[in-house]
């Protein structure tokens, strides 16, 4: 009789296995691989970023725009290695918050949780504002400028409440359409301008330009880890979630490299400088395309932004849900609707936080573009902080669970060093610009959130013990689990 036969005939009792999963109540294993990928891609919004980020990078990095985008892709790849160390091993809803808690402890986890929540909240507000900004000309044409933001807020309020399976499907369709449209237009533009001249794009690389450009380009990748909030709801999560995270970085990287190449080539053909253009995509569509093209592009970008807001709300709700179950937040955040299997309170809170401020700001008549600059700066700082922590945490985690991996250690810790350098550069650069308030707002939010979280941990031994909760195997899954 082999050991396996013996184990099956007389299972060894496995202690410490619960009878129900701590995240019970969600619609487990219901989201397919494509929709999981859609969640991450939508949170990044490559279509919107491909039209908005290249000009920012070109303005700061000068001649180093293309190398900076490539460097940012590599950096995002390093972070994704660290994220996947966890995503391959645990199915969680708390994403980086849960991951870091499991490795560096509850306190570091709370810092990560606050940082990533700030990231998702502000990127979603940024995206919603962005959608309204890009639909501005169209709305003006129709005479409904005031209504455009509240109108766009409706899908953000409604879709995440329909559950992960449906909201991810909506995200896939919206983001997929926008990316395809942008890609087709890019290729069409290249056909008109002729092949790109790569040697002309790398001649003026300077070190400071490269660093600042890379950091700005990195902000175009934030959100790629959001598939890891669907750990519980994804089918075959240990395979689909890491794959979605990696492919999101690849898809976004290729889109951005393509977008920068196309825009530089086209501006070169026009004899103008990309970095000084106020609205490069509109300038290009006016120069090369029919008059209605700008309108189509605006709609595509707005759709991409809207998908980003929905994806960020979905991700944020799941992190709040995890915190509710752990009692780090009030218990009601951890409740799931028994019929719809959606974390209702967490989702409602998330969408309210996302929709409220931009609608109020637009109502007060604030300039949407300035608002977008501030929002994205705060969001990027939040994400980068969480990325640094997860990169530090990954190798420690693998060693602790007895699965050391030298390559992962090297890649993750390189990611940690480079990402923290990027974060510092980003904060310093922001302080010097007109949007210094963004840096201070981020610091205040992070410190205040962390302080509240630590206070909660100090007061509640239950919360302290529960932090890092994930979809544990139950006695139904384990051979010999009932004893």
């Amino acid at each position: 009789m082999t050991a396996l036969q013996r184990a099956i005939a007389h299972p060894v009792p496995v202690p410490g296995v619960r009878s129900t999963s701590p995240v019970t109540g969600l619609d487990r294993r219901s989201v397919g691989a494509w929709d999981v990928l859609g969640q991450s891609v939508a949170a990044v919004a490559p279509a919107a970023a491909a039209t908005t980020i290249p000009v920012l990078v070109a303005a700061s990095a000068g001649g180093a725009a293309l190398p900076a985008v490539v460097a940012a892709t590599v950096l995002a790849m390093l972070v994704s290695v660290a994220v996947n160390v966890f995503a391959r091993r645990m199915a969680a809803t708390g994403s980086l918050y849960t991951f870091v808690s499991r490795s560096l402890g509850a306190r570091a986890g709370v810092v990560t949780g606050v940082a990533i929540l700030v990231g998702y909240t502000f990127i979603a507000m940024f995206a919603l504002t962005g959608a309204a900004f890009y639909l501005g000309p169209l709305a003006q044409h129709l005479g409904i400028t005031v209504l455009v933001l509240p109108f766009l807020a409706i899908p953000v309020l409604v879709v995440p409440l329909a559950g992960a399976r449906r909201s991810t499907r909506v995200e896939v369709v919206m983001e997929g359409t926008s990316v395809l449209l942008i890609a087709v237009l890019g290729v069409a533009l290249l056909v008109r301008t002729g092949p790109p001249d790569f040697s002309g794009m790398t001649h003026a690389v300077t070190a400071p330009g490269m660093v600042v450009g890379t950091v700005l380009a990195l902000t175009a990748f934030v959100g790629f880890e959001s598939a890891s909030t669907l750990g519980v709801e994804a089918r075959r999560p240990f395979t689909t979630v890491p794959r979605a995270v990696t492919w999101t970085v690849v898809v976004s990287g290729v889109t951005y490299v393509g977008a920068v190449t196309v825009q530089l080539t086209a501006f070169h053909a026009l004899g103008r400088d990309l970095g000084t253009s106020a609205s490069p995509v509109n300038a290009l569509s006016a120069a090369f395309g029919p008059p209605w093209l700008a309108g189509v592009l605006d709609v595509a970008v707005a759709m991409s932004f809207l998908a980003c807001a929905i994806a960020s709300a979905t991700a944020m709700a799941r992190i709040l849900f995890a915190m509710g179950r752990e009692l780090v937040l009030p218990e009601r955040f951890g409740r799931a609707d028994p019929v719809r299997q959606v974390p209702t309170v967490a989702t409602r809170t998330a969408v309210a936080l996302i929709v409220g401020p931009p609608v109020v700001a637009a109502g007060l008549g604030l300039d949407l573009q300035t608002l977008m600059h501030v929002l994205i700066a705060i969001a990027a700082a939040g994400f980068l902080t969480a990325y640094v922590l997860v990169c530090v945490a990954a190798p420690i985690f693998t060693r602790r669970i007895g699965e050391p991996h030298p390559w992962t250690t090297v890649l993750s810790w390189s990611g940690a060093v480079l990402t923290s350098a990027s974060l510092m550069t980003f904060l310093v650069v922001q302080v010097r610009t007109a949007h210094a308030a963004a840096t201070w707002a981020f610091v205040v939010l992070l410190v205040a959130g962390t302080a509240l979280g630590w206070l909660r941990l100090a007061r509640s031994p239950v919360a302290r013990e529960r932090v890092g909760l994930y979809d544990e195997p139950t006695s139904q899954d384990v051979l010999g689990g009932d004893s």
Binding site: T2, A3, L4, Q5, R6, A7, I8, P11, V12, V14, G16, V17, R18, S19, T20, S21, D27, R28, R29, S30, R88, R89, M90, R102, G163, R165, R166, R236, P237, F238, T239, P338, V339, R340, Q341, R400, I401, G402, E403, P404, H405, E472, P473, T474, S475, Q476, D477, V478, L479, G480, G481, D482
Partner: protein
Amino acid sequence: MSYSFGHPDVVARLTGVPPPAGGINSRQPGAILHALQILECVARRGPGTTASEISTDLNLSRATTYRLVRLLADDKYLVRMPDLKGFALGRRVAELAAPATATPHLSRAALAVLAVLRNRVRAGVHLVHYSGSSIFITDEDGDIPLTDPSRLVTDPSSTAAGRLAAAWVEAQRTGRRPPTHELQARRVSSRRGCLALPVQDDAGHLVAALLVEAPAARLKHPEELMSILLSGVSELTMLLT
């Protein structure tokens, strides 16, 4: 004792690819062998065996080991221990070695009861049996088949039948009254839900369950449905146990 692979998709799942149309390609058998050796190794070392211990024991590279344990964990042949350190055998390995169970013979009377129920409730009425930890379908509604029968095997805890079994075990453990029914809305599709009613023997063991798949709206207030079904359940109890 004759052992058989419980499911034809086992091979494909172990290697992480969908079943290829032309059969297994030449590189996969090695991975299958390693996967089985990994299961054997965890069985030998007991719960809490870490991936690096497996890699040392089997002289496999770490990367290969991590990849295979991940695939095995994805399909619950292995489960990671709650503290994330090391693995235990998943309940699904029992399927690998389960003696091929013959489907219990349903008497004509039992089939007649099911036919009457199907006429009366006008929804998918199915009968499943429990054997150890696994659930198998004994009589599926031919006109309105189960939406996703494979879930009963791959993820029973997300089905009404699986949840009923879990609740039953829990009730027996804590000495409470066993549940009268289990409802699972939005299991596979948002429009259809599933209601599971227990069929128990004299000793109070859960033998089988009557499943009714119907539009979620109909299951919101299942009282009317239940009154029809409960009479069927009591007849089935006489016929099946």
